[in-house]
Symmetry: C2
Subunit: 203 residues, 2 copies
């Protein structure tokens, strides 16, 4: 391989491996081998495995929460609002298929991930919920929307989006779906989720 920027290469390759196999599932020796450099170099640039992992976690979790934070602010219908959120989330998941597995898999026992989630959530969490609440209240004041819990709404959308993805991976393996069928499955889920969410809150 021997790309000129080894520091970045290591981070990139380590990200892929950690995301797929988890913290304990990857050794610095494996990272070095995959990069094509000496194992000591991994430690030269990032000192410890913990530290390398921490940097990667921070980047990835931040990326994920950014998706939620990037709520459309224009004056659109509630239907389009929901659609855009779902679209953004599924889009992100398509580009980062390992993300939910990584987060859920590490969350259960990796205190580093937990701490990071806590930190980044207290940074972005209120902002995200606040933005959506604002939009919902605006629509409510116009009489276009019933009473609705923003927290439940968010949990519902994230739940359905994330698990569509987990399901897709599962079914891909179990039912031997080809990539075309996978794509179709996700598209079907996307419209289904939108319909499901909207059916419960239309005024």
């Amino acid at each position: 391989m021997q790309k000129n920027n080894m520091e970045e290469q290591i981070l990139l390759v380590a990200k892929e491996l950690f995301m797929q196999f988890g913290y304990e599932g990857v050794s610095t020796t494996q990272v070095a081998k995959a990069v094509g450099c000496n194992q000591a170099l991994v430690h030269y640039y990032y000192r410890t495995k913990q530290n390398l992992f921490k940097i990667i976690c921070q980047q990835e979790i931040q990326k994920m929460l950014k998706i939620l934070a990037d709520i459309p602010q224009e004056d659109i219908s509630f239907e389009d609002f929901i659609e855009k959120i779902i679209e953004a989330q599924i889009g992100f998941l398509k580009n980062n298929p390992d993300a939910p597995f990584f987060i859920i898999g590490e969350l259960r026992h990796n205190s580093e991930v937990l701490k990071m989630m806590k930190e980044l959530f207290s940074e972005f969490g209120k902002e995200i919920v606040g933005k959506i609440r604002l939009f919902v209240q605006m629509k409510q004041s116009k009489g276009e929307l019933n009473d609705v819990s923003v927290e439940d709404l968010l949990i519902d959308i994230v739940s359905l989006d994330v698990m569509s993805f987990v399901g897709q991976v599962l079914f891909t393996q179990i039912l031997e779906m080809d990539s075309q069928t996978q794509e179709a499955f996700l598209e079907r889920r996307k419209t289904h989720i939108k319909k499901l969410i909207l059916s419960s809150i239309k005024s």
Copy 2:
């Protein structure tokens, strides 16, 4: 500890550890220490770590799918039908809080878990979907129900149930919820999920 049945003790303790920390996150030395026996005993009874893990996986995944397979067959309303399924799932998750983290966490890279899911799904999967389809068709023939995709319905319910649980663990840590608040959160989600599911399919 030194309970008289070491073979069983090892399985029990190993289950707890594997469920929380995953395959790579647990060593046979740790298992032995937690049980209070010699490390070689773990291998005496189960030969390899792989094999021990496999046995535990089989048991746990089977338990999970059983929950889905135990669909109420009595002549009840569709509303009660959905409620019972949700009740059963949330109940199971309360007793096995690590289960979704374990499955999703291992699914991404542990071929053993994947293979097992594949095997057990082809054994129970069709049965489960078939049972629900039968119930749905029965209700449809009576005109009590719209057209509905059984697959989507199942994915929806499982998604919302499982992620309520993942969310609960997350929020417990992030928002420092006490056990009473956790219980309330789950109860609220339970009724919310039921309402959400039903709102989309009532005829």
